[in-house]
Every structure is written in C-alpha cells, then in structure tokens.
Symmetry: C2
DNA sequence: GTGCGGCCTCCCGATGCGGGAGGGTCAAGC
DNA sequence: GCTTGACCCTCCCGCATCGGGAGGCCGCAC
C-alpha cells in the first residue's frame, strides 16, 4: 500500500491532482483510512493512473475519461478514444485555417471590394430550416444540403441559405438552406418556402469559408459607410462550391446583405443619415 | 458610429465578448457616451476585431493579443505571432506523442521488465545544475548539455542526469546533468561535482522519452513489490541518444532508482517489511 | 515528548466565456 | 408627450482544471 506522496512520485501526477481524481470518482484509492482520511493506493493502480495522465494530456474532459475507464469492453473503449482523436483532428484543421487566415489578414493588401445592390424578387424554393447553434451549423448544413439534393430532381438554380442575425449575436438562431426548383416537393424536412423579395448588397467571397467572416466585415463596412439601411437575415448563394470542384480556390460564394432602401453612395454626413430599423443582419461563420 | 450590437454582427464577436475586450483594454470603442456608458465603435475597427478573433481562435492569451496589437512595428508583430505558431507546433508534437503513447498503453502487452540492482561508487564529474520547473526541464536540459559538450574535451563516459523528487510532486525541483571526465573544467555554469555513491535499481528505457514515465512506473512498481528501500534523486544515464543516432528506436536510457538497502526478492509479507526513509525518488518527465 | 514532514479539508485565484438579474436608454408609433 | 420594446448598461455567478495557501491532524524517529 502506497501513501499518496509515493504514488504521486510513481505516476507523475501531483498529490493535489490525485486527490481531485479521487473526489471526482476517477481514480479511487485502494483503501482509505476511515479515521484519518489517509488515501492508500496499490501498485496495480499505476497503469490506470498513466492512462488517465495520457488522456488528460489530450485534453479529454474528466467525465469523458471516467466514461472511457468505466467501459470494460476494449472495443467501446477504443471507439471513445477514436472519437476524441477525431475531435483533436478537427481542432487541428480549425487551427490550420485560422493560421492561414491570420497570415492573410496581417498582410496589408487593400483587396478592393466589388459590391452591387440588387433587387431580388420573391421566389418559392425547396427548403430545409431549423434553429441551430453556431457550432452545429456546419454539420447541420451538410445534412440539410444532402437531403435537398436527394429530393430535388430538377433544380432551376444554385443553392443558397438564409442566416438569422441572432446566430452570431447569441450563438444560435434560425437557419434555412434552399434549392430553387419549379415544383418544390414535400419530403422529410424538405418543404416549399416562399422567400420574400429583398434588396441586397451583394459581394462575392472567393475560396474556402475559413475566413468568410472577413468578407462579411468588409461588406458590412461598405453598407455602413454608404449609409444604406439594413434589415433581415443575410443570404448566401453558393455559386461554386465543393459539389462543383474540389479546388477551393475556385469556390465562389455570394453574400447578400439586405438593405432596406437604397441611397446613392455619397460621403456620409448629417444630411445623409437615413431612417432605418434597429436590426441588421448577421451571418453564419466559417 | 456603430452601437455594440451592430458591431457584434459585423465582426462575429458576441456583445459580451466585446465588452470584455473593452474592459481588458484590448479593443477600446471609438467613443463612449459619458452619461449612459454606451459604447460606439467605428467601422475602421472591424479589421482589428477580426485579427483579435483569429488570435483567440489560436488560443493566444488576451495579454499576448494586446501585446501583438500594441506593437506598431510589423516586424515585431510577426515575431510575436511566429512565437505563438511555434508554441502551437510544439503542442501538436506533444499531442502526437501522447496519442502514440496512449496506443501503446492500451495495447495489453506485459512487456517484461529487466531490473538489475547495482552499486555505483562516488564519482567526480563536470556538471551543470539548477532549480528548474517541470515545463522548462526539456529546454534547460538542451542548453545545459550543449554547454557541457562545448567545455568537456575528453569525456570518460556517457552523460547522465539527477532529478529531484520534488520535480514531479511540486512541479519544480533540483536538476543536475553531468558528463564524466578526468579533470572537470570550471567554465560558465559548468563545475566539478562529486556524485555520492548509491545503490540503484536500474532498468533501460528504449526509444523516445515521450512515454518514459511509463517505464518509471514499472520500475517503481518493481521496487515497491520487491520490498526495496528507496531514497534520493533518481538518476538517468543516456547510453544512446539523439547525439548518437537520429533513429529514436535505437535510443537507450538507463533509469536508476536509488535503493537504500537490498533485500532478496521475496513475496511481501509482515516479516518482509523493512525500515526505510520516508522519501523516495521521482523523475523528470514528459 | 518533541519536531518535522506528510496528509487532511477548505477557500481562493486564474482563464475566457456564457447565463441571468435588475435597471437605464433610445426611437417608433400613437 | 407617452408607451412600448428592443437595446444597452453593470454586477454576480458558473463552467473546467489546476495551483497556492491556511489551519490542523497524524506518524515516525530520536
């Protein structure tokens, strides 16, 4: 039987950490003295402690570590571990994307922005919609688009999406993806929706969506400085996407920022201030 | 001038987060109404907000973000960013190592352990020593060994190190690296040290040091179950290391766990309990 | 018996974000 | 001019995981 200090030296886990793991039910000492509260560990617990150590190095949350240790079946255990490795991989991808985008941001290139204001008439489309949290948007989008693709036989235009303002302000909001078609079918989550007519300030984002928020910022800035009123959810139109070509540099995403009324692009001044609603659009990220 | 909510929509940073960044002095609003406290941002602040956003995605701590933004010189800025990317890379390496080690740990292979008890006489060596924190050990080791190599002309044996118990229990402790030589020179941090005679339970760790703590655990377990007394800092001897071959699988590191007195390896029982000091060794980690 | 190191519990801080309470402000519409 | 509802304010708390430190009991050697 080993006192906590000795066990600490054997496992390279600090005494405090071992106590925490005991409290959390993660690694119970082989024996606890009822009167003194002293924890005593057995040498057989060293491997378990080392597995915990490794999992913590991978930032596996303590409850998940517990789940992994509790699952007696090596198969289930392997699955849980694999899940975490996959999560790590996804995080790595995000890191890579952020690094690339940061480099682009810090390179001081003006990157002139083409913005066009365009009236879009009301259209009836096949759509899938839901309230979604920001982190889930990507996964939700993939599923919804796949379902649309499976159901819509004769699309009459490129797909698009509408993204609620709240999505970014609050981290969750209403999202709708659609595909134009002559006779929208009704099947599963797919149903007909009539998108209202709007005027949109439109620009095109080129390449991956990793730094589409930068384009959003530039477009928003254009809208603000040109004193155009704004309202309603932002619209994206996927002119060229992964479904069309695997080459990210060829991707084209149109971003449409609703504008309430149009004004000639004059320098802003006291006379140029317009009456406008209090809300303005946001967008999905990444 | 944009209210905080509009700015939030333009930058994809939540309102709360923007307020925090203001409090932290990271992103000051262009104007703050003195009577109402309302924050107003300018469209020119969008790029700064986006850079902050990217840096935070890379887990750059807020004070560091501030330092990066405050440095007006693009060169210094690039250096700070590069430092962080390097840190990310190092973390990635650690993750990779932990994954590999975890796989090895979960594969249930008994891996028989060769342990030998050996009397080591007192020796005078050229040494570098210091109190070091656990996280710094690797970097400190590299520097100390380089200095030793530069100064010791005619080594009479392979290099080694002594690692205080406290290093793992408290996260910092005394560390000494040495190279045996006939006449230890005195230069910079290098000086002569006489290592005391000890008896060591010795085993050899094969391969990279990523999971050397597992070997420590196995050796410690052997020491405990064979009822040997222990005391003093643990010793490592670098039989074959990166200086000898780039092939990690060929590396050999001897781990010596001090034993106070030897007993025949009998099953433990009431009669086999020995008198021994209260302290036992730890080791450097990673 | 005394001293000291080991062990105990309990509280607090750091980090960066979100939730929620409680209350003031702004502008549209009557 | 007043109501209404969205918007903004501050302040407090919780989250996860770790470390620091206080205050006190316990065990063992001398």
């Amino acid at each position: 039987m080993l006192a906590i200090g000795e066990f600490s030296r054997l496992t390279h886990l600090s005494v405090r950490t071992l106590r925490r793991y005991h409290d959390a039910g993660l690694l119970e000492p082989a024996a606890v003295d009822a009167t003194t509260g002293y924890r005593y560990y057995s040498a057989d617990q060293i491997p378990a402690a080392q597995v915990i150590h490794r999992l913590r190095q991978l930032d596996v949350p303590l409850p998940d570590v517990q789940r992994i240790l509790r699952s007696p079946d090596p198969g289930a255990r392997a699955t849980l571990v694999a899940d975490h490795l996959q999560r790590l991989e996804a995080e790595l991808d995000r890191t890579r994307a952020a690094v690339a985008s940061l480099r682009r941001l810090l390179r001081p290139e003006p990157a002139p922005l083409d913005v066009e204001v365009r009236a879009v008439p009301a259209t009836t489309v096949a759509a899938v919609e839901d309230d979604v949290a920001l982190e889930e948007v990507l996964g939700w989008y993939a599923g919804a688009m796949a379902e649309l693709d499976a159901v819509v036989r004769q699309p009459t235009g490129v797909p698009g999406g509408l993204y609620d303002n709240a999505l970014f302000e609050d981290g969750h909001g209403h999202v709708l993806v659609y595909r134009p078609t002559a006779a929208p079918p009704r099947s599963g989550r797919v149903h007909a929706v009539t998108l209202p007519a709007v005027e949109l300030a439109v620009t095109t984002h080129v390449g991956e969506h990793d730094d589409i928020d930068v384009t959003y910022g530039e477009l928003g800035r254009w809208v603000v400085t040109n004193a155009l009123a704004v309202a309603g959810p932002v619209r994206e139109t996927y002119l060229v996407g992964p479904r069309d070509t695997p080459e990210p540099d060829a991707w084209r995403t149109e971003i449409g920022w609703p504008v309430f009324r149009m004004a000639p692009p004059v320098p802003r001044g006291p006379g140029a201030v317009e009456r406008r609603p209090r809300t303005s659009p946001s967008s999905p990220g990444r």
